[in-house]
Symmetry: C2
Amino acid sequence: MTAKLIVLYKKPADTKAFDDHYFNIHVPLAEKMPGLIKSSYSRITGSPMGQPGFYLMAELTFDSQEALQQALASPEGRAAGKDVMGFAGDLVHMMFADVVDTPAGISG
Amino acid sequence: MTAKLIVLYKKPADTKAFDDHYFNIHVPLAEKMPGLIKSSYSRITGSPMGQPGFYLMAELTFDSQEALQQALASPEGRAAGKDVMGFAGDLVHMMFADVVDTPAGISG
């Protein structure tokens, strides 16, 4: 069962400055983490229920929770963590997750 | 650019009853939506920052925001929406998102 680090960001005051740092500095740092097998980034565009929401979501996939924890504890993981706390410490919400093997036909 | 419906659920009082309904009733309903090209379900296991978090996340991927909106407006989408509001209306947080073509090498 693969494991994910899910990182949600609330909307920053300066979206351009956030995007510049995020995609040019932070993503390359985060993607150096050992054991990373897949990454995906989603820009939140709205909510059908009008709820206060998030701005951006990153998902970093590893072979297992152990591999995820090892990645976060590595020098590369600590550098990425330090970076994110510096530019988005008040916006970031991180979660660990297990990817479910879905019971239905469509999955991926 | 593909589009995602991201559905976050807060932790239910009765996780077993939630899981039973979710995976046996709701997921099969939701996966009948026309235009769905991929689905993924993640169980949230914790947070490195000890923040109050979520219990489960579903991601339903479509070819475009237009295809996503058409799916939600379809009879199958309305049935899935009615079901979710019935068993988890107070827990659910839905978001629309555009999947970013990542600048770095690792992606998927």
